[in-house]
């Protein structure tokens, strides 16, 4: 089986390359995606190989990038749009929620806008303000959008291809502080096809409590599970991968087994994804719960200056503290 160790960033790059090779209608758009290869180099080398018409350096105008991508999609293209940083997606928010999300429904199914909006997300890289947002809840709240989040190189490679192939618009979150972490990527088609775009993955099996996480928090939760194991506690870690739709059956299977659930994400907990997940668990698996579903996430403040971000972001200790509280019930 063909495979190699790639960083998450290189996994995305390879996935985009393969999608472009397989479908001439796939075009990449965004600020600096051409010669520079994007500020995170995700599109590095692609303009050189596919040309300026397929890797389009756009004006610095996010609504324009997404809005013109809608038009390209209506013309039969499959645009993959790069938003440079999470905090820069807001100028395009109107196009995404008013147009991208609703086009299929309002056209009574006549129109499709198969596009992927890639958003480097989250903090932990010491960035200035507006560069460390976790805005997944805004998009998951909007019907018509699909929202997914990769956490490792193999998923990056496969999920980006699956997202491009789907006929629904996909918001594709990339954990920027994990861009340079390496993982094994099997580039055989069958190897990636075993997991659908909207399926979660049990990344560590356990029996005492379930950690539900995605994107940058998957690594943190795995570290927490390692630490807990040293204390004799067996934690199950689920990488949700898909945020809309949630893979609810997989979540419930795990919680019914462990009786304890802790949702971990970087975004503010107030009206965050954790609130929805906790509610669904108590609605669907109430009698299996040994403790309330707990949340570990950002505080309800704007993302702080980077010198404070280590206190804002959930870390191994905050996760373990929540595990302790859950298991004390």
């Amino acid at each position: 089986m063909a495979g190699s160790k790639l960083t998450l960033a290189k996994g995305l790059n390879a996935g985009l390359r393969r999608a472009m090779e397989e479908d001439p209608k796939v075009v990449l758009m965004g600020e600096d995606v051409g010669k520079l290869g994007g500020v995170f180099r995700i599109t590095e080398g692609l303009q050189k190989d596919f040309g300026e018409d397929r890797v389009i350096d756009t004006p610095l105008a996010e609504s324009g990038i997404v809005g013109t991508a809608v038009g390209l999609a209506l013309r039969g293209y499959r645009p993959v749009v790069e938003i440079q940083f999470d905090g820069f997606v807001y100028p395009a928010f109107d196009q995404i929620v008013s147009q991208v999300a609703k086009m299929h429904a309002r056209s009574l199914g006549n129109l499709r806008v198969p596009m992927v909006i890639r958003i480097p997300c989250g903090g932990g890289i010491g960035a200035v303000e507006h560069h460390s947002e976790s805005n997944e809840a805004y998009f998951a709240h909007t019907a018509g959008l699909r929202v997914v989040s990769c956490s490792n190189a193999a998923d990056a490679y496969w999920m980006i291809q699956q997202a491009i192939q789907t006929d629904d618009p996909v918001i594709f979150f990339e954990p920027k502080r994990r861009y340079h972490e390496r993982g094994q990527v099997e580039v055989d088609r069958d190897a990636g096809a075993d997991l659908g775009l909207y399926e979660s993955r049990v990344v560590r099996e356990g029996t005492d409590a379930t950690l539900l996480c995605y994107g940058p928090m998957v690594k943190t939760c795995l570290q927490a599970a390692d630490a807990a194991a040293e204390e004799g506690r067996s934690l199950e870690v689920i990488d949700l991968r898909t945020l809309s739709p949630l893979d609810l059956p997989a979540i419930l299977d795990s919680v019914r087994k462990t009786g304890h659930a802790i949702v971990v994400h970087e975004a503010q907990t107030f009206v965050g994804l954790g609130a929805e997940i906790a509610t669904l668990i108590q609605q669907e698996a109430f009698y299996h719960l040994e403790a309330p579903v707990l949340r570990v996430g950002g505080y309800n403040i704007p993302y702080p200056p980077s010198r404070h971000e280590e206190h804002f972001l959930p870390d191994l200790d905050r996760v373990l503290d929540a595990v302790d509280r859950s298991l004390e019930y």
């Binding site: 004006p59 809608v70 390209l72 209506l74 196009q95 147009q99 789907t166």
Partner: protein, 412 residues
């Protein structure tokens, strides 16, 4: 236009304001005259017929388009006249149906028929139009059945026509969004190689519509940037009807759109939006240019919204009757008919037949509207996603079970 010329334009505007006063009107000075960019003799304005339909002579502004008008036949004139009358009648019916409670809302195009028919008739079948929500006249010219427009205003759907059947996109309510969709579509046209081939059936252009208020939106301005730097085959068609609900031109811009386009690297044309020959000619020229691969053009059609913004609006709160009367004198149908009678393009029988046809269409669409059924409520869960989404599926099932519970209880 130089600063000096702009200043002269202001001066001409002052004269116009004087004329307004002498016409016996009271109330505020029309905003177009305040900004001074428009006047009856603005040398930038492309016109071919005066308010009575008299053919105007060649000017520097209309000379580039005069050959297009010269080539128009009597049949062309009759087609445009028929469009103007029928579109006005469709619009009037929409207004009446709203007042009768059949529609929740209606945005009237009254006064803007010439702008829309001129644009609509200049489009070829393969071209694509991206409207706002007032482009009933363009929809008519594209072949969209007028009753299809009523669905969204009645509330039975959010669009209701197949955009690709007539290359007429769904109405767009959020002001300016569609300018980017048109631009992106045009970028795709160019990427497909469907410009500059010389094949009249293949070369394709896009036309995107908004109003004077739309020119203040970010998406409008971003669309001009994208179109300019990509040389996209698109024509931006601005219907400056002078009122963005209650806000006049001078609340939207200090440099008018046709001049401002040049700052984006896009040629701008000012056309008398109540002159159907002029709007047709400038649109045809701009679309030909786009199809030839020569890039975008912005057309500002200077016109007037004779009615309210929508049926929810009350224009008496912000503008004077006298101002409306000035524009009633510039009525596009009166002008077109005067021109045709002078040139002998049609006889009284033709004009009478068009009026009969208008009555028939009005009756037809009234019946279609009144007999339009509400869709099965469960269809609101349809087409949210292309692929099945478990949340939508679960909520659909929940809704159906809830509805069925009433049936089981025999309550309906």
């Amino acid at each position: 236009m130089s600063d000096n010329e702009v200043a002269q334009g202001r001066s001409a505007g002052a004269d116009m304001a004087g004329a307004f006063e002498s016409s016996g009107g009271h109330g505020p000075t029309p905003p177009s005259q305040i900004t001074g960019h428009y006047s009856a003799d603005n040398p930038d304005m492309v016109q071919f017929v005066d308010a009575d339909g008299n053919r105007l002579g060649i000017t520097e502004a209309n000379e580039p388009y005069s050959c297009i008008v010269e080539e128009m036949t009597s049949q062309d004139a009759r087609t445009i006249y028929r469009d103007l009358v029928l579109v006005r009648r469709i619009d009037a019916e929409g207004h009446a149906l709203q007042r009768q409670g059949e529609l929740g809302l209606w945005p009237s195009l009254l006064g803007q028929e010439a702008a829309q028919v001129g644009a609509g008739r200049a489009l070829r079948p393969q071209d694509y139009a991206f409207p706002g929500y007032r482009e009933h006249g363009v929809a008519w010219c594209r072949g969209v059945p007028p009753e299809n427009l009523f669905g969204m205003f009645r509330g039975v759907n959010n669009g209701g026509w197949d955009s690709n059947a007539n290359n007429f996109h769904l109405y767009t309510i959020v002001i300016g969004n569609q300018m980017l969709h048109g631009t992106g579509y045009a970028m795709g046209v160019k990427a497909d190689g469907a410009v500059g081939t010389g094949d009249p059936d293949r070369d394709t252009a896009v036309m995107a519509f908004t109003g004077d208020g739309g020119t203040a939106q970010g998406d409008y301005n971003e669309a001009l940037v994208f179109a300019s730097v990509t040389a996209a085959p698109i024509v931006f068609f601005i219907q400056n009807n002078q009122w963005a609900i209650s806000e006049p031109n001078d609340k939207q811009f200090t440099i008018p759109p046709y001049q401002r386009s040049r700052g984006f690297g896009i040629p701008g044309v000012l056309v008398d939006g109540n002159d159907p020959l002029a709007t047709y000619a400038v649109c045809k020229a701009a679309l030909d240019r786009a199809r030839a691969g020569e890039g975008p053009t912005l057309i500002e059609a200077y016109t007037y919204r004779m009615g309210a913004h929508t049926t929810s609006d009350d224009p008496t709160k912000y503008r004077s009757d006298a101002e409306v009367e000035i524009w009633r004198e510039k009525d596009p149908i009166k002008r077109m008919r005067g021109f045709m009678e002078e040139k002998g393009h049609a006889d009284a029988e033709f004009f009478a037949a068009v009026d009969v046809e208008a009555d028939e269409i009005a009756a037809r669409i009234r019946e279609a509207c009144q007999t339009m059924h509400d869709p099965d409520p469960v269809t609101m869960f349809d087409n949210i996603y292309v692929e099945e989404h478990p949340v939508v599926a679960a909520e659909r099932a929940e809704f159906q079970a809830y509805q069925a519970s009433f049936v089981e209880e025999g309550s309906h």
